[in-house]
Every structure is written in structure tokens, then in C-alpha cells.
Point group: none
Chain length 216, copies 4
């Protein structure tokens, strides 16, 4: 591995500032976290998108949230086939090893992955349909959501609806994992669906009775 380079200077400078301030002022807590291990109350499945910081929105402390971030905050269905499943591994670790009490799926507006899925499913992005497209094959997880969105929405409303389906599909898929279902049925885990509007700073939660999102 010969390609790695040193860190850009501005990041080194910021790290040194953090070390002299935030780290220094909270050293006791960091040491305890290192010694005793993490004990997060919740797992969050969020998007990689650089505009969505779940720790900022919820004023989260170090040690509070176990956070998995992937494109479009998707959870695939349960498939124990021996392959590498990064999302399933993260969910398994959070639920069975860390025994988190909450599992929150956080979707958001202007999601590039969701837009790609909509383009692909409506026939406008042939490159995403190729076997070799990782983004396309990943967004296949959201196809069941697209079918529902297409049937029920006008074209101009479909992106917003599909962003929210990315949360619903993930919640549905989570329940196909035996250890998730068992924990939910046994009241040791609760699931939560959220969607945030980047520009407006809004936050909505999924209400299963009406199958809709409401402002918190």
C-alpha cells in the first residue's frame, strides 16, 4: 500500500486544537470510555451525506449513539448467505452485542442516492442498471418503495415520497432480521423512523397507523 499520503496541514492543525481543548477538558470521560467500553442507548442508521450530522441535531455526547452511515440510510433484507454485509453486521452488533434500546433510521431531503434510484427505476439512468454499478445495485434495495411511490404520487412529488420510503423500507427490512424482531417483540428494542429537511431544519417522524410522517 504505497499510495497513502500524510494528512493535509489544516486537518492536523484542527486536530491539535481539539486535543488541546475538547480532549483536554474531557479527558476523564474519554479515558473511562476507553477503559469500560461503549454503552450507547441508541443505534442510528443515517446517510453518508456530508450535510446530515445526527450528533449535532441531537446534541449527542461521545458514547451516546452507535452510528452506521451508508448511501441513503438503507437496511437490506435479512440474507445470511455468507457474503460481506456491512449494514447487517452493524445492526447485528448493535442489537445482539451492545443491546441498544432504540434503533433510529434517519432519512433526509436532497438525497443523491434516492434521486439516483428514482432516475434508475424510471428508466433515466441506464448506467445505474449495470451489474457493475455498486450504487445501482445498492439502491435496488429501495425498489419496493419506488413501486409504491409511483402508484400514489404525481411525478413532482415522487422524490420526496421516495426519500421517506427509504426510511420505511429500512424499517420493514429490519423486522426481517430474527434478532431485531425478537428484541422488538420482547420490548427490549424500539424502532423509530425520522426524516429531516436540510434547508428548513425540519424533523418528521414516521407514524405507522397513518403510514405518514408528522413533524416532531
Amino acid at each position: 500500500m504505497n499510495a497513502a499520503k500524510p494528512l493535509p496541514a489544516y486537518l492536523i492543525q484542527r486536530y491539535q486544537g481539539w486535543k488541546a481543548t475538547t480532549y483536554s477538558d474531557n479527558r476523564a470521560w474519554y479515558k473511562r470510555l476507553a477503559t469500560e467500553g461503549q454503552r450507547p442507548r441508541a443505534m442510528v442508521v443515517s446517510c453518508c451525506d456530508s450535510r446530515v450530522h445526527v450528533t449535532s441535531i441531537f446534541g449527542a455526547d461521545q458514547g451516546e449513539f452507535f452510528i452506521h452511515r451508508n448511501v441513503a440510510n438503507l437496511v437490506p433484507p435479512y440474507e445470511p448467505d455468507g457474503d460481506h454485509h456491512g449494514t447487517s453486521a452493524a445492526v447485528e452488533y448493535a442489537v445482539t452485542a451492545l443491546k441498544v434500546a432504540h434503533l433510529i433510521v434517519l432519512g433526509h431531503s436532497q438525497c443523491g442516492g434516492v434521486q439516483g434510484c428514482l432516475d434508475m427505476c424510471s428508466g433515466n439512468a441506464p448506467h445505474l442498471e449495470e451489474t457493475s454499478s455498486f450504487v445501482g445495485r445498492w439502491m435496488d434495495i429501495l425498489r419496493p418503495g419506488y413501486e409504491r411511490v409511483k402508484a400514489a404520487n404525481k411525478a413532482e412529488d415522487q422524490v420526496r415520497a421516495l426519500e421517506k420510503e427509504s426510511v420505511i423500507v429500512s424499517l420493514e427490512n429490519l423486522m426481517t432480521f430474527p434478532f431485531v424482531k425478537e428484541a422488538v417483540d420482547g420490548n427490549t428494542l424500539s424502532l423509530h423512523g425520522l426524516w429531516t429537511d436540510i434547508g428548513e431544519g425540519g424533523l418528521e417522524y414516521f407514524e405507522p397507523k397513518t403510514r405518514s410522517f408528522k413533524p416532531v
Copy 2:
């Protein structure tokens, strides 16, 4: 999907506080981020661990880092087989669509995934060797690192060495992706390996010449 519940009240309260302060004070920037899209300088591959906040360590702004988080900050090898590959999709999106200039892999001390891999590879965690173990199959990615660690280290040094191998293996696997190699060779992307010590607040970077980590 009938299992979803409303958000705990303390999180709603904190969100409303964020909306009235952080969001309100930065509304113009959030609106631009929503309208113009994200344009992150770097992608970070980090662990889900609740104790590692890359945005805190580097004082990162909204819009600055495209962040993928999975168990043990692993990137699998290039395998365009039509299956769901969440990590590969995130890397593909960052490099080909967002055209990030840096790709940073951030490992850390006390990693539960790495410890699990060590236990499994040394024969002490048979449950992780089962086909149905998502964590076990995910940590298989790190097996090449284990082989090197086993050969070169005493038992008590193996965990630390394997934590650092999780960064090196990911950097190696990244270079098996044609679009990553092309961008690195064309000088439009640079790779960086980092490892942070949770308790000490230390940060080290991977130096390819000596194949070792040095304090930044």
C-alpha cells in the same frame, strides 16, 4: 411496518433547541447546502463506534466530510457481482459522483469488531465462524491482516496491530477499485490512513515507506 414508535421526549427537546440555535444561526448556509447540493472535500471511512466522532476531532463543518461508518472501518475488495455492497456503493458515489479529493480511513483503539476478528481467527469465537454470523463474515475482510499480525507480533501486541491492519487492509482494498486507482494515479484523489487512541486522544497516520503509523 407497525412497530415504529415516537422519539423519546429528551431527543425532541434537544432537536428543538438545535433548531432554535444552531440551525437558526446558520440558516443561510443550510439553505445553500440544500439548493446547491453537497460538495465535500473528503470522504471518511470510520467505525460505527459511539466513541469516535470524526467531525469533533477535525472541527468539521456541515458539508465538509462525506462519511461512511461501518463496523471496524473496513473496505471490502472490488467485487462487481451484482449483490448489495453498501461500502463499495459509498466509495463509488464519493469518488465518481462527488469527486472527493481525499479518502481517509480512520481506525481506532478498543474496536469491538477488531477484537472479534482476533478472537475468531485465533479459534476462540466459534459463533463468529458460522455462515449466519454477519459480524463474522464482515470481519473476514480483515483476515489477511490477521495473518500478517500473527506472524510479526507477540500475543499481547496483536490487538493493537490488528486495529492498524484494519486501516491498511482497507487502503489496499481501495486500490483494487478501478475508479479509485485511476483517480489516485491521475492525482485527483489522495488516500490517507489514520488511527486514533480513544483514551489518550492520540492520532497517528500511516506512512507507506516504513509501513508503520506515526503521530501526526
Copy 3:
């Protein structure tokens, strides 16, 4: 006093959120509370335990409960010997200056102080028996409860019984304070004993006739 440090940033952020929402929305009431002073209906003696929030359980408003919290919600016997007695001072202030109408002692399950008392009284915690152990000397207050518990319960039931004795002993000791007895006899103060189960969310009250706790 040179050791004090600034507050961790996440707490400052949360405070600023509170200021901009909860405080801002209730400013008129906070200002009246500041100008006119507090006028709480009840005093609560509760445990320091981080898992017990009496204001949450009873939806309490600012200004509603005068709350003293110590290890194991204990009230010592009346001892006007000129020493510092924090609990007695709090009770005296609530009953004679604030003239609260109710005095509630709230015990709870999984109390570390009660467990320590049980260990100490049964000879399994010699360090708590030392003169220099503040926790041990504080838990001495509960020794009369231990004697009753030991006589009447099997070993596996003793912790639960002693948790409830921590409430009964405190109620008994309260009546040794002349100003408490006078207020109770004069019907200007009523005493209440409660015990809450953290995991089950249960709440029981002390019924003097049967000397037992019943679900509310």
C-alpha cells in the same frame, strides 16, 4: 480553587438550545418565580441515582417540588447537636420556611446504597464498616430497617425489602423532628412513602395499616 474547568461543549450547546426554546417560551413564569420566590406544594426526598427522575414521573413544573436528593433517600433521626446536617436542614427549610403541604419519600429498585447497606450489615463489606467510610456511616441510618428485614425475609427477598425499609425508616425518623410532628398533628403537612421499580415503571405507596406497599 484552581482546578475548575469549562463545561463540555455538548452541554453548552444543549443549554443554549434550552435557553432559546423552553426558557424563551416560559420566560414570564421564570420571571415571576424569580421575583415572587418559590412556593412548592411538596417536598420530595429522593435518591441521587441517575435513573430516577421524580419530575419526569410526575410531570412536575418548575416551582412545584422542593427536592432533596441523597444516597438511598434517607432521613436521619433528629439530632440538634450543632453539626452540619444537610438532610435535616432541607427538611427544616421545607417545613418551617416554605410550609410545604406534602412530604414524599421516594425509594427505588436497584439502589446501590441499599445494596451496600445489606452487604455491610451481613458482614460482606468490611470497607463500609470503617469510620472513614462516608457511605457506610450514612447507610448506618438504615440499620434498624436491616434488623427487621433479616428477621422477616428469606435471603433472596432482603434487598427488595430493605429498599422499602429505606422509605419506612425515613418516615419514622421524620416524625422525630418536633416541627414535622407538630405540622402532621396539626394537619398542615402530610407524609407519603413511595417506591418505584426502574425497569417496570411501577409505583407503590406505603400503607401504614398493613405496613406494606401497594400499587398506586
Copy 4:
């Protein structure tokens, strides 16, 4: 103990509402807290005053703060004399058993205990000087603060100054406890002094260099 009465109906009603909503929605977390025990990051020493809710100001979760509340948020000096010392027991438990990383002393405006101390020390409250006055003997802890305040402030500024001295004196006394000093010196505990203005919603922190309070 024959004096105890059942709970007022409005409190029973509120409890039942809490059980059906907050408890029900967070059952998984409450169960974990019961099973695994508490692991608070910080201890808070706050006043019994009904107008000061530290969990509200900081949006605190169940399990986050170990809270001791007494009159005027005072910590007495280290006195291992075998008597009951409720505050010292709470500090000992938090620092040596729970190993909290932060210890926060929170003072506030309009503190009745501080006003009583000022009246007593300036000769205007003879009843507080009696041996039998628990409030008076408790507020003796703050006398060293009164001496400093008297020397440096005009009469009309003395109450405010003494409210802040209640924080400083407590921080000073904390450092007389060997286990506190050892933890602070060993960087496993940090101390923090805060003062809040009830009517204005302000929050100030103690800065040791200038021995003054500054807005956070």
C-alpha cells in the same frame, strides 16, 4: 409509622399518564438501566430549590447525571469522624464507586439558603445562630465565603456575590477530600462551577484564573 397517607389523586393521574407514554415508549432503555445499572458521566450538586431543574437545562437523559440536591448546593469540608454526612457520602459514592468523569456544582439566583446565611452572618437572624437550627448550622459551611464577600462588596451586591461563593466554597471543600483530589490530579475527574439566573435563564461558569464567573 402511622402517619403516611396515600398520594394526592392529581399525582396518581400524572404518574399513570407517564407510565402509558414516556415509560411505555422508553421501556427498553429503562429495562437496560435496571439490569445493567447506572453509568452516569457526571455528578451534579444542586440546590433543593423547586425552580432549578438541571435535567431540563441540559436535556438530560435518564442515566446521565447522578444528582445530589441540598440547601444551597454546599459541600462541607472533609471530616471522617464517623457521623452521618449525606453530602460526603454522595460525593464518595459518585467518585469512588461510579467513577464519574465530571463533578458540577450548580448555584443559582434567589437562593433562600444563601439569603439566610447572609442575614445570619450580618447579625440579622439570631434564630439561625442557635445550636438547634439545622439550616443555620448547615449554612455555617458558607461562612468563609461570607468573609470574602463582606470585604469586597457593597451591601447591595453581597447576596449575588455570596450565591457565587456557595459554588466556590463547595469546589474548595471538594478538593479537601483525598479521593477527589487524587482523581482530579490523576485527570480522571474534572470539577466545574456553574451559576444560573432563574429569571433571566442565564448560565455562568467559574473561571479560576480570574476567580470570576463568565457567561458560557
